[in-house]
Amino acid sequence: MRRRFSPGRVLGWTVLTVVVVGSVFPFWWMVRTAITPAADMYTDSSALLPDNPTLVNFARVLGLTSEAEARAAGGSGAHVDFARYLVNSVVYCALIAGFQTLFCAMAGYAFARLRFPGRDLVFGILISALMVPPIFTLLPNFVFVKELGLINTMAGMVAPSLLMTPFAVFFLRQFFLSLPRDVEEAAILDGNGPWGVFWRIALPMSRGPLITIGLTTIVWAWKDYLWPLLVGRAEENRLVTVALGVFLQQSPNTQPDWTGLMAASTLSVVPVLVLLVFMGRRLVQSLNFTGSK
């Protein structure tokens, strides 16, 4: 490690630089296409910046232009409103991350600390669900949500993930097991019941893992596609991912409206980028956490 300049280090840094550029460049090309006028698609050079940058593609995917303007800018006559889809996605992620983390923490705590008959059996059954591919429960769940009349509602979209996910229960149980018992035992001696201990002692002590699980849940929920595609097709509660899929085919006469699509794609990345800027350290550390478990 002392040698500052060795051919090996130079090579290593070169490889890392290539990797970083490879990770970031496609995003630049996305933005670059998004600020290109649709009319220039065939004629524009392949330079890093478009010849005539414009924001019209963003305006039209946010539903800020009239139908005629959207058509003139290369879109279709179809209505798109990515502002609404973004809000839907944020609500969807917040609901799932909030409720799921809380409920799974409660269960994880119970499995780690409380004594009751059948504890290991129940835990074992819950964990066995980790082995089942989601598509297996997805089909009957669709039928079930349909029977409840919740197709195309936010309630139907969040229902299967709102209450639990086996991984979070497993992960938080592991964490609670690793907490030292002394503080809790002291709290019990002070006359706290299991609830008191959980709320006042255990939860505050586990901010780190809770944020880890919460952040991970947000990221996965943001990426969700198949389930919302089935139960959230209606314009009113489309998520960004579903809306992108619809928009791909919404384009005039099956020719993808690439400038609009890339503008919409950029919008789907912005919230994630914000998350990364403000929570980057946490996110990266949360991976350390899961990685070392």
Binding site: R9, G12, W13, L16, V20, S23, V24, W29, M30, S46, M106, A107, Y109, L114, R115, V122, A129, M131, P133, I135, F136, T137, L139, P140, F144, K146, A159, P160, L163, M164, P166, L177, S178, R181, G193, P194, W195, F198, V219, W222, K223, Y225, L226, L229, L230, V240, T241, L244, G245, L261, M262, S265, V269, V272, L276, G280, V284, L287, G291, S292
Partner: protein, 299 residues
């Protein structure tokens, strides 16, 4: 896993009542959205069900039809091909990147940047690459064109389509995998490297003798998780190729999806989903065993 408490509290507690309240939401969620549908799924798999009729019992007919269905076997085959390509490239690349980072830098900015492709929805990733790889207007074909190659039909050539999909997802998941492996490497005691260096070991030998063996448990866990994830490839295919050309990218998830929601063969799709669950179950069990073996190795 089991923490042995040195001395038991005098009184054996029984938190039955409290535990019940702690567990209600999760048990309800499990019962309603995992247990109940699992039973229903099993039932559908032995019925003829189109979602518009009442399911009628047909015995093992769906399963025997699956065994005879060339498309089903093709779906398993192309999925296996995808998993092989994706896991292979992703793990090797991630291992290389993690090792480089481990020896060169602790930069959080670098790590956050590598994480970006993973944070983006697969749908966005699919769209983005579909655009970059387009035969006529795609940037990559433009680059190839300037050196006199192509155009290449990355997503429309039957033999290239699945490797392209695998490459797209490798792009998207390598950073994430690298960070997981990197986190594992951070746990390897520094003095091992120092003493290896004193013995005159070069970087490559340190990687082989120190990093790799001590990383095995983490590596195994990462492999299990990404393997199971890989089998469930759907989003990227649903956005880009939709199973084309000629089923070359019709992976098992997409096959089940089409059977269920395009042709409304729900019973048939449920049977296929159960077959997939069985395959994944066996694979996981095998991997877990390997994982356990590697753990005891370390101890």
């Amino acid at each position: 896993m089991t923490s042995s408490t040195p001395h038991h509290p005098a009184r054996r507690r029984d938190d039955r009542r409290a535990a019940w309240w702690f567990l209600v939401p999760v048990l309800a969620g499990f019962g309603v959205f995992y247990g109940y549908p699992a039973v229903r799924g099993l039932w559908y798999s032995v019925t003829d069900y189109t979602m518009l009729n009442t399911p009628s019992f047909v015995g093992a007919e769906n399963y025997s039809a699956l065994m005879r269905d060339g498309d089903f076997w093709n779906a398993l085959k192309v999925t296996a091909w995808y998993v092989l390509l994706n896991i292979g490239s992703q793990t090797l690349l991630a291992l290389a990147i993690a090792a480089l980072m481990h020896r060169l830098t602790r930069s959080v900015v670098l790590r956050a940047t590598l994480l970006l492709p993973w944070l983006v929805p697969n749908v966005t990733v699919g769209l983005l690459w579909m655009w970059l790889l387009d035969t006529n207007l795609g940037f990559l074909n433009h680059l190839l064109g300037t050196v006199g190659i192509g155009p290449v039909g990355f997503l429309s050539d039957a033999s290239l389509a699945m490797p392209s999909i695998a490459a797209i997802n490798t792009w998207s998941y390598t950073g994430y995998t690298a960070l997981l492996l990197y986190a594992g490497m951070l746990q390897i005691p520094q003095y091992l490297y120092e003493s290896a260096a004193i013995d005159g070991a070069g970087e490559w030998r340190m990687f082989r003798r120190v990093t790799l063996p001590l990383l095995r448990p983490v590596l195994a866990l990462v492999l299990v998780v990404s393997l199971i994830g890989s089998f469930q490839i759907f989003d990227t295919i649903a956005v880009t190729t939709k199973g084309d050309p000629v089923g070359a990218t019709r992976a098992i998830y997409f096959f089940i999806y089409e059977e269920a929601f395009r042709f409304f063969h729900l019973g048939y799709a449920a049977a296929a989903a159960i077959c997939l669950a069985l395959i994944l179950g066996v694979l996981t069990a095998v991997q877990m065993r390997l994982l356990r073996a590697s753990r005891s190795d370390l101890a």
